[in-house]
Symmetry: C2
């Protein structure tokens, strides 16, 4: 066991801000919490926060900024949302219009930033407990599926729950429930085990997002609420402006995954 | 919510001891821990204790008596194992030779009593969380199955793991893992979910003990290590003398199920 340097998140953010570092963040700053980012005009932010609180499993809120304030002091030292995400996506009325490396020139004093937990945190805990993450082994993105289950709407925000799927043996599925139950801040316990048809999923080899992974005869598919849910919901609400991280290019914080575990 | 009278276990034991009360204890002294009983000669007790410690999920030890001492002070006020079980079974070399209502005349100063946790404790917690116990609804015993998984042997004690099965929806299976993980003293988390063939179980409608229950299309079979495991193991070891409770006629203690929950 090695102690994780507390400054690694900060060091990576400095490279992103100053040196044009613009890669995917998976596996970077090991042990640090990474987050999904959504930035919205204030007149939509209230509804979006209500949406998140009504759907805590797909939308675990790690931080909400003050209106117009680009700093997120609860997530670490000098976290500036205008510069510290490796790559952004700019959406206007639901259409992708740009993928800049910073958003200083787009910042407005009516913008509110949301940072939502992501599955990287609990995947680390699962892997450390000896549970194979098949999509890691296969070197691909986790398979994700639109379900027949609707989220609880708030204002213009509504849509289906999106889940990620990880195959594992029944004994590991029990372990995975125990471990991820302690990670409420990052999706928590699985929403479903074993019967994809009950979620309206027809073919596990044809995910709606990410890539398919092998499921062996002695394995069950285990499903978690996924951070793609709020992204899909925001896109379908077509806000005049929305800024998100580019897929896989997360905000790296100073928080440690281990500190998100309760009990 | 009503407070459970601490004296209910004691009151029931008094009836059993003095008034010939000799029924099954399921549902009696609500909220109190009930235990499986096995009484063995001291020269076998060491091996049996080792067996229990090597197989904690099927054999959760709630109490072990001192040699020759019929009192179990850690389980409650004035608990006397010679009189306080509603009905006993006497086994000689693995053969059932009697079903007396007390064992005062059989007591010897080389006997050691084991009290092992039973699933009644966690079933109460599951039912209180809104999870239907199908065998309660159907008014029958929980279905139990011999598995292809061997216990870890100790001395003459060896044999297959026996599991009990409760059907429930995938969402409730997740909840059931969370709840029973807190009940390590009474079998703990499930040992298996969803794939009976991996345990060597061919037909869920033909249990080896207990009775079959309905499993619906939207349900998974969830399997827990079962207290019948040590009973079967002791029988097959054919000790010269062994005294157990009669099925369903458990030792009722002063402990509360709620206090067995950790976290």
């Amino acid at each position: 066991v090695t102690t994780i340097p507390a400054s690694e998140g900060w060091t990576l953010r400095q490279k992103i801000r100053n040196d044009g570092w613009a890669s995917q963040t998976s596996g970077q700053a090991y042990g640090h919490v990474q987050g999904n980012v959504a930035i919205l005009p204030a007149d939509l932010a209230d509804d979006f926060l209500r949406f998140c609180l009504r759907n805590p499993k797909p939308c675990p809120v790690l931080a909400v900024s003050d209106r117009g304030n680009p700093l997120l002091s609860t997530l670490g030292r000098d976290v500036d949302i205008r510069t510290d995400v490796p790559r952004y996506r700019i959406w206007e009325a639901g259409r992708l219009v740009g993928e800049p490396l910073d958003i200083r020139d787009l910042w407005r004093d009516d913008l509110v930033t949301f940072v939502l937990g992501c599955s990287f945190s609990f995947e680390q805990a699962l892997a450390e407990a000896g549970i194979e993450m098949r999509h890691w082994t296969q070197g691909c993105n986790v398979p994700m599926f639109l379900t027949s289950q609707q989220t609880v709407a708030a204002g213009p925000f509504a849509g289906p729950l999106v889940v990620s799927m990880r195959p594992m043996t029944p004994a590991n599925a029990v372990k995975a429930v125990q471990i991820t139950s302690r990670f409420n801040a990052v999706h928590g316990a699985p929403v479903h085990i074993g019967k994809p048809e009950m979620l309206g999923i027809r073919d596990l080899q044809r995910p709606d997002f990410g890539e398919p992974v092998e499921i062996r005869d002695d394995e069950l598919p285990v499903f978690w609420a996924c951070g793609v849910t709020p992204q899909a919901v925001v896109m379908s609400a077509r806000p005049p402006l929305c800024i998100t991280h580019a897929p896989g290019h997360m905000l790296v914080t100073d928080l440690l995954n281990a500190t998100l575990s309760v009990g």
